[in-house]
């Protein structure tokens, strides 16, 4: 409940934040604080300095073009969930954001913060991998871009260097593309509201057949994974219930996570059940 002592610096700009990170080995970024502050209260995380980037206005905001949606890292889950532009251009993102935690947490939690935390039970990482998102990251050596599938390294571990800041997330504006549909389904942990299993399905149809299928499963492994076998099995097929069921049955991700609420065996089972539902819903939304 009572964190250990810590120093605090409110960054005035992105550069200021990066410089402070560079100079202090024990410094941690503070955005919405809804991963970090709970850890500090448990004394599991004991940073020496908090670098608060929560007031840097340039790091939040939503920009939509015909092809892309660019979201500032400090954009709250509430803002993403409520954004009319995201609901039109990349609806699966708004759908997932609305399922994160609860209203108060969504008012403070940020998309950048969630992604940098890489919690296996979070919602956004699964989405980002499914959307082939690109993350813009700035450090002492300037800006670089990291693909979502290369960003998540291990349990609670990303490709971010200690002195780098995730600044924006770019996803395709698939909502503007005909024949594309997406769906995110989540089995909520009844206590924590985290995803016990989260499945993101994106379906692209052409001539009544699946041109592209993306199925990403989160919550059963350290980081979300493509259900590659399922994606292959669906490609080129008619998205009938029978074909979808058959494709889902080939799912072969080894579930490594489990707890007293849901064992790894049950999670693997849920992944299949939810994948089928998500694919069917995505198909319906794709106009199939």
């Amino acid at each position: 409940m009572y964190s250990a002592s810590v120093d605090y610096h409110r960054a005035t700009s992105l550069n200021d934040a990066i410089k402070t990170l560079e100079k202090n080995k024990g410094a941690k970024l503070l955005a919405g604080g809804h991963s970090l502050i709970p850890s500090m209260k448990l004394r599991v995380a004991n940073p020496a300095v908090l670098v608060d980037i929560g007031h840097i206005k340039s790091l939040s905001g939503i920009k939509v073009t015909k092809k892309e949606v660019k979201i500032g890292a400090l954009t709250t889950h509430a803002a993403v969930a409520a954004s009319a532009e995201i609901k039109e251009a990349c609806p699966i993102l708004a759908e997932a954001a609305a399922l994160i935690a609860d209203p108060q947490v969504r008012n403070r939690g940020t998309i950048g913060g969630s992604l940098a935390q890489a919690d296996p039970a979070a919602d956004y990482p699964t989405l980002m991998i499914a959307l082939d998102a690109i993350f813009a990251v700035t450090g002492p050596n300037g800006e670089r871009h990291i693909e979502a599938r290369k960003f998540f390294k291990d349990l609670l571990t990303t490709a971010l260097k200690r002195d780098e800041v995730l600044t924006s997330i770019t996803v395709p504006a698939y909502g503007n593309m005909p024949g594309m549909g997406g769906a995110y389904l989540k089995h909520r942990h009844p206590a924590s509201s985290y995803a016990v299993v989260g499945v993101a399905a994106m379906i692209g149809l052409a001539d009544g057949k699946v041109e592209r299928a993306v199925v990403v499963v989160g919550g059963i492994t350290s980081n979300p994974m493509h259900a590659v076998a399922v994606e292959s099995a669906l490609a080129g097929k008619e998205p009938t219930e029978a074909n979808i069921s058959a494709a889902v049955d080939t799912m072969d991700i080894e579930a490594t996570l489990g707890d007293s609420y849901a064992s790894s065996e049950y999670r693997a089972h849920l992944a299949k059940v939810m994948a089928k539902k998500a694919i069917m819903l995505a198909t319906e939304r794709a106009g199939g």
């Binding site: 604080g33 502050i37 509430a78 209203p103 108060q104 008012n107």
Partner: protein, 170 residues
């Protein structure tokens, strides 16, 4: 090392010294003396500590006072104006939405934000909107009734207390 923070609470500006690790909830309760906001857990689940900060409901146990420097906060004590209860407060009284009362301040604040964003919520929307607030006494039944009663009694624009309206996203 202690820092000076300036936070407007219920319309009054306060300047205080505070250690960075101090939670906004503790700051409000101890430094300012507004004990209406309660602390019910230590893992950010229960929502008893909910306050309005810059127009949105937040869990003050998961915000550091230093993060709120320069912000505007409304606590339960700031809802009534000119001795008149806020319609949500009236509704909780009318519909027996409080039993032991411990979750009530945070619950009422969440409902204020909920109705500001969604003036005529369905039962399902209400129940989902309260996912960040735990109550052990009422079983939520009369809280849901209170929300519906408040929604009927109040034009949408009046949900947010006046000093919050410029901040609130509708």
């Amino acid at each position: 090392m202690a820092q000076t923070v300036s936070i407007t609470v219920n319309g009054t500006a306060y300047e205080r010294e505070v250690e960075p690790r101090v939670l906004l909830a503790h700051f409000l309760r101890e430094a300012i003396g507004l004990t209406g906001t309660n602390v019910g857990c230590d893992t950010s689940q229960c929502g008893a500590c909910t306050v309005l900060m810059d127009g949105a409901a937040v869990k003050s146990c998961t915000v550091l006072a230093v993060q709120a420097d320069g912000s505007s906060v409304t606590t339960i004590e700031g809802l009534a104006s000119d001795g008149k209860l806020h319609p949500v407060q009236e509704a909780f009284w009318e519909k027996h939405g409080a039993q032991c009362g411990f979750c009530t301040p945070g619950m009422i604040i969440t409902v204020v934000d909920l109705l500001n964003n969604n003036p005529h919520p369905t039962d399902e929307e209400i129940r989902h909107g309260l996912e960040g607030n735990l109550c052990r006494c009422t079983g939520y039944q009369n809280i849901v009734e209170a929300v519906k009663h408040a929604a009927r009694a109040m034009p949408a624009a009046e949900a947010m207390p006046e000093e919050m309206r410029e901040h609130a996203h509708a």
